[in-house]
């Protein structure tokens, strides 16, 4: 479990996060949703320690992350996997080298053991015969899947996904969502997904928080989303005129 307690974050005069307190549970896909500029990415970067909070605490289980020294932070990070918005695959390495990188860096596995683990992870994300390809030779969806394979290669306890669906067509986006959810459930991972895709919310939102102006405006799960009369949530869901028309016609009927 990951707990964020009373997180404030400011950049100069600008307050981006204002007292965020929430919990992210294991074996669940925990979603952070909100409009662009709501503070989702800042919160995610704070949770993984790429940014430090102005005040507040982040606990990984019972460990106060920002009270740790560098060595202890590294130990926690060995248990963390992250999928980046643009996949962040290393251009100069093949798919196999990308996925193997954490194994090369942190394990004493033999070459064969590493290859087996890499192949297992690639198969787990439904990628076959791409080991020798470079990231530039893959589609956006395939790059995301390689990103997921790399994120899970060290069997992480915590998985963070920054807008995993951005730039993907709806079908591929759903596949990626399902992949994240199934990997989360299988391995009892605490997964935190940062998204503004409503398909993701309705598909994999076990625990959802909505950020608005740096504060949590709503929290619940995917079943509660449509039933909620929270104005900020409704404005977020029905942001487009098309969806507003659908809602209005449904109400008329």
């Amino acid at each position: 479990m990951i707990r964020a307690i009373d997180i404030f974050k400011s950049f100069g005069e600008q307050d981006v996060l204002k007292g965020i307190t929430t919990e992210f549970y294991p074996a669940q896909t925990n979603l952070i949703i909100g409009r662009s500029g709501a503070g989702k990415t800042v919160l995610l970067k704070l949770l993984v320690g790429l940014l430090a909070p102005t005040s507040g605490k982040v606990f990984y289980d019972d460990v106060d992350f920002f009270a740790l020294n560098k060595r202890q932070v590294r130990a926690i990070r060995m248990k963390v996997g992250m999928l980046f918005q643009a996949s962040a695959l290393f251009d100069s390495m093949t798919v196999e080298q990308n996925v193997r990188f954490p194994l090369d860096m942190f394990t004493n596995m033999t070459r064969k053991e590493k290859l087996d683990r890499v192949n297992y992870c690639l198969e787990r994300v439904n990628l076959h015969e791409v080991n020798d390809k470079f990231p530039s030779e893959l589609s956006g969806g395939m790059q995301k899947r390689v990103g997921i394979a790399r994120a899970i290669v060290l069997k992480p306890k915590y998985l963070f996904c920054d807008e995993p669906n951005s730039g993907l067509d709806p079908k591929t986006a759903i596949l990626i969502d399902e992949l994240i959810r199934s990997i989360t459930m299988e391995n009892n991972i605490t997964t935190v997904v940062n998204t503004h895709d409503m398909n993701s919310v309705m598909g994999i939102g076990d625990n959802v928080i909505l950020l608005y102006n740096g504060e949590i405006a709503w929290r619940g799960d995917r079943d509660q989303v449509m039933e909620s009369d929270n104005e900020v949530l409704q404005n977020f869901i029905f942001a487009s005129p098309f969806l507003q028309q659908l809602r209005d016609s449904a109400i008329k009927k």
Binding site: G49, R77, M78, V80, G81, F84, D104, M105
Partner: protein
């Protein structure tokens, strides 16, 4: 304001360099990366260094021949001047100024690009000491390879002087060889290598610093790359003066 800015960057640079030299997570990975960098810096720069060196030697020979013309200074002094000016000053300084442009800008762009594409964040989250993995191999590789390049540059430069002076009739083969062998002070070679080592550290670390902390988009990346060259060049010339004062005082 300038002082505050200077102290900020100096402090951040020192912290980065200290972090870069923490114990590696896995020596074999750092070794591989160091070998790759040695190849990039060394083999990748050999042609340009050779090309520039040959002209440095040639121009030095022609210019001194012109200046000594009509004086009582013996002609063989041209060989002596080409050798010493090359070893003491031109080979280390010009080679490193050129490498700052070629290797330094490349390092800043490579690391800066990795920062912008979140590769550095990805490594950080894996638990990799990114300053260590990305910077230490470059600095170590440069420490070995740049002195070698400077030595090669010095040799080629003297050959350039020979080519410009002997076949063109400025002086005879015997005179040039006599000049090159006259008044040789081995300490000058030590000075050349001291300069090469100091310049190598400066140009790689400053360039890596510029790339490592790049923010924003392609314009900032371009600026970082330019700054890498400009600051490396300034520091190389400053260090050149300081070393000259210290080692000849």
């Amino acid at each position: 304001m300038f002082l505050k800015n200077f102290l900020f960057h100096l402090g951040r640079y020192v912290i980065m360099m200290r972090t870069a030299f923490y114990r590696p997570e896995r020596v074999s990975m750092y070794y591989k990366e160091t070998m790759r960098q040695m190849n990039d810096i060394g083999i990748g720069s050999l042609l340009i260094v050779a090309l520039i060196s040959i002209f440095i030697g040639a121009v030095t020979a022609v210019q001194f021949s012109y200046q000594l013309d009509g004086t009582l200074v013996p002609t063989y002094y041209i060989g002596y001047i080409v050798r010493d000016s090359t070893i003491i000053e031109l080979a280390p300084t010009i080679t490193c100024l050129v490498l700052a442009g070629k290797v330094g800008s490349n390092m800043a762009a490579e690391i800066g690009g990795m920062r912008q594409k979140e590769h550095i964040d990805a490594m950080e989250i894996m638990g990799v000491n990114t300053a260590g993995y990305l910077i230490m191999p470059k600095v170590v590789a440069a420490l070995f390879v740049i002195p070698m390049l400077v030595a090669i540059a010095a040799f080629i430069s003297i050959m350039g002087g020979y080519v410009a002076a002997v076949p063109t009739g400025l002086m005879s083969n015997a005179e040039f060889v006599q000049g090159v062998r006259s008044f040789f002070v081995p300490y000058n070679v030590t000075m050349m290598f001291v300069k090469a080592v100091v310049f190598a550290v400066l140009l790689t670390s400053v360039s890596c610093y510029q790339g490592y902390y790049v923010e924003g988009g392609s314009i900032e990346l371009g600026k970082a790359s330019t700054n890498a060259v400009v600051f490396s060049d300034i520091l190389i010339l400053l260090a050149d003066y300081v070393i000259a004062v210290l080692l000849t005082g």
